[in-house]
Structures are given as structure tokens and as C-alpha cells.
Symmetry: C2
Subunit: 219 residues, 2 copies
Amino acid sequence: MSRQMSQTSQINQTNQTNQTGNLRVKRTQKLLREALIELIEERGFEALTVGELTERAMVSRAAFYRNYQDKYALVEQIFAEAMSALMNAVGDLGQEHPAEVWVRFFEHIAEYERLYRALLGSKGSPWFVRTMRASLAELILERGHPLHSTNATHATHAARAPHASIHAFSDGFVPGFVAAMFVEAITWWLEQGRPYSPREMATRSSRLAAAIFKEASAW
Amino acid sequence: MSRQMSQTSQINQTNQTNQTGNLRVKRTQKLLREALIELIEERGFEALTVGELTERAMVSRAAFYRNYQDKYALVEQIFAEAMSALMNAVGDLGQEHPAEVWVRFFEHIAEYERLYRALLGSKGSPWFVRTMRASLAELILERGHPLHSTNATHATHAARAPHASIHAFSDGFVPGFVAAMFVEAITWWLEQGRPYSPREMATRSSRLAAAIFKEASAW
DNA sequence: GAGCAGGTGTCCCATTCGAGACAGGAAGCG
DNA sequence: CGCTTCCTGTCTCGAATGGGACACCTGCTC
């Protein structure tokens, strides 16, 4: 009950370099992941028990504990893998096409729609929202400043106070703020049944983010 | 390639009365069933290999052969279980509510839509169509004659030649003919995206079947 | 025909898994 | 408090599985 999520627990106990018996382990994990998402949708993350999970996944409780410390470790793994997939998707863009980063981002969200709906929705857990926000803030810090220049290219204020801009950027407040905005955009988008395309969402969100950065740079 | 389906092969080799390790066996079979339907939809039943099947199901080829003689045995089991479910659905009606039999029937088809679409569709195999027709003909022989009286209650001709009616019924030609009509109705219904409710389909199909019986009884 | 590629069906052994029991903790209730 | 109930996390042992090898077969190409 009160474990309340560790940040970045060691995902597995052993070094996991086995190559025999690998299919069984992967299958067990896959079945557990699918069952978890189903049960979050139905009953919410906090309410669900390991017993329900393993019953739904057609896996023994013992097998669960062989693979994960508890249900938090499972959801952390799922989340980490989704983040990893996201970083790969935007990573192979290089540093060019900054606007494409956010298109890829929303495409990723769409691809993992069920996961994000479950995790960020009302049945999820505040932990997801916080972690998602933190990951997004990191992404913005690393890849986000080109977003600055997508449109609204360093207008009047930015030229006037460059130091303030850098400060507001690097102290994490503004990226965190923008990240929260993106999280809200995601949940809205998914709960509305994705009324806009990923590209449209990227454009709209980028404009809003740019406006925030522009305003913050005037501080 | 040339096994071409045995009729009612012994589903399993052993007596299967184990109660330990049961979950693993059931899970393996479930994963294989789902993978089979997916692969029929994608590549067609004849084209698919055991290797593809087990890879999709995340199960070893050895495990497949421990449970089934070959892919035909697997599909026969699936089909048999669906038929069993159908018979249970219409069986607990007793002999009353003859019209309800066909409502239940189409409800069953809708419930197992994916299975029947795959098996009866163009990617399936002629074997399914034949077996389905045979099963339906049996159902009609056992439960079908009340269908006679749903409407068109033994009009003029029936009273005139009762013996001929019984003969045409029991020699299997008419039931087989009507069964083929039902199979066509099913495939049309599913491929059109189920434009009518199960009840509507039952009513329409029953009327057509009754007309056929009525006409046949005049021979 | 020979060679080759790919699918089938069977086998063995190490590994993982399922079933069930166990102690311990949480929470609810009298 | 005592009692019950449910969930957790760990353990053991027999059982099913995975990996990989094997011989056999079929169809294709040279």
C-alpha cells in the first residue's frame, strides 16, 4: 500500500543475460503488462492486487514475484520502456528538424494510446503524472530549445534579456511548466478521442510552448 | 499439406484429467488459438505454418506438438468448442421458444465474430464451410422443425402431404439446403459489418427457411 | 539427379513455471 | 483485545515448457 513508488528501482534482480528460457520470461512479462493495463482501466492502479493481475494474465503469483518486486516495479518497467521507445523515436532525428520532435512525440503517444490513457487517466496514479512531467521536462531541456525557434524567432524581448532567458530555462521551472502543459494536452487529446492529428497537436502545442518561453524570457 | 482434415480426431492424446499444471496447458492453448485466428486473417489457413503460429503465440514448437497433432487438430478443437458453446446456448432453452433458438444462434455468431469471419471468410478453408453446414443441418434436424411453425403454420400443402414432408425433412437434403442458406446468411452478415441485429437476422432467416420447408413439403 | 531451402514431427535436457503451503501484515468487526 | 479475512512475499517440488538438434519430406533450381 504505502510503497508509493521508488524512483528508478533496479528493474531486475539478476543481470538478465540469460539467453535460454528467454521466451518464457518475455511471455510472462508481456502477459502481465497487458493484464495490468486492462485492470487499471477497470479498477484503477491502486485497487488492483497481484492476485487479480496474475489470474488475468494466466500466470502464477510465484512467477510474478520471480520477475518483479511488486506491482510498482511492473508499472515502472512498462513506463520505462515506453519512455525508451519515445527517446528512440525522437533520438534518431538528430538535432535537425526540431519541429518534428513533437510530431514524433504525439505519434508515440498515439501508438501507446492505451497505456497512456490508463496511466494518466483518472484510474491511474498521481505518480505517473509526476514522472511523465519529469521525463518531459528533461526532453524539453535536451531537445526543447529548438522549439523556441520554430516560429516566434527570438523576438524583441529575447534580444533584450538573454541571460534571464537562459536562467529561466535551466532552473527547470519553465520546462517543468511547459511539461505540465504537454501532459494536460496529452490527456485532453486522448480523452477526446484524438480529434486532431499528431502533427496538428504538435503545431498547436509548440506555439503555446513558444509563447510561454517568449514570455518567460522577458523576466 | 494433404492431411485435409480428419473428422473428429481425438482432441487430445492423454485423458487430460490432470489438475496440476493445468493453467500452463490452458494458457498455451489459448495463446495458440488467438495466434491462429490472427494468422488466418493475415495469411489464410492453408498458408500458415506451425512455426509462424508458435512464434506469434510466444510458444515453442515443441509445446505445440505436445498439445496438438497438427494445425488441423488445433482448428478442429477451436471449432468444436465454438459448436459446443452454441449448443449450450440453444440447449438451455429446452424445447420451448423455438424462435429464440435462431436469435441465440445469431447472438452466438456475433459473440464469436472474429472466429467465424476468419474461418468462413475467403482466407479460411472449404473444410470449415462444409463442417459448419453439417453442424447446422444437425441443429436443424434436432431443433429446426419448430421453426416450421414460427409463422406459415402448416398451410394448405402441409396438410395435404404430411408423409412427403417428413421424408424430405429426414433424408437430409432440405436441412442441408437450409443450412447452406444459413451459412451464407452468416458470412454476408459478418462481411457487411452486421447491419441487422441478431433478432432481425433470426426473423428474416427463419422466414426464408420456413418458405423452403413449406415448398419442399409439397413435393 | 544433386543441391538447397524450408516445413514437419519427434526427441532430450536444462530451465521456468504452477500449485500450494507458509508466516506475516493490513484492515474491519464484535 | 480477539477473530476473521484478505493480501503480500517467499519457498519447495513436480510438471510443462524452451531451445536446439535430428531425420524426413516436399518443392524448387541448376
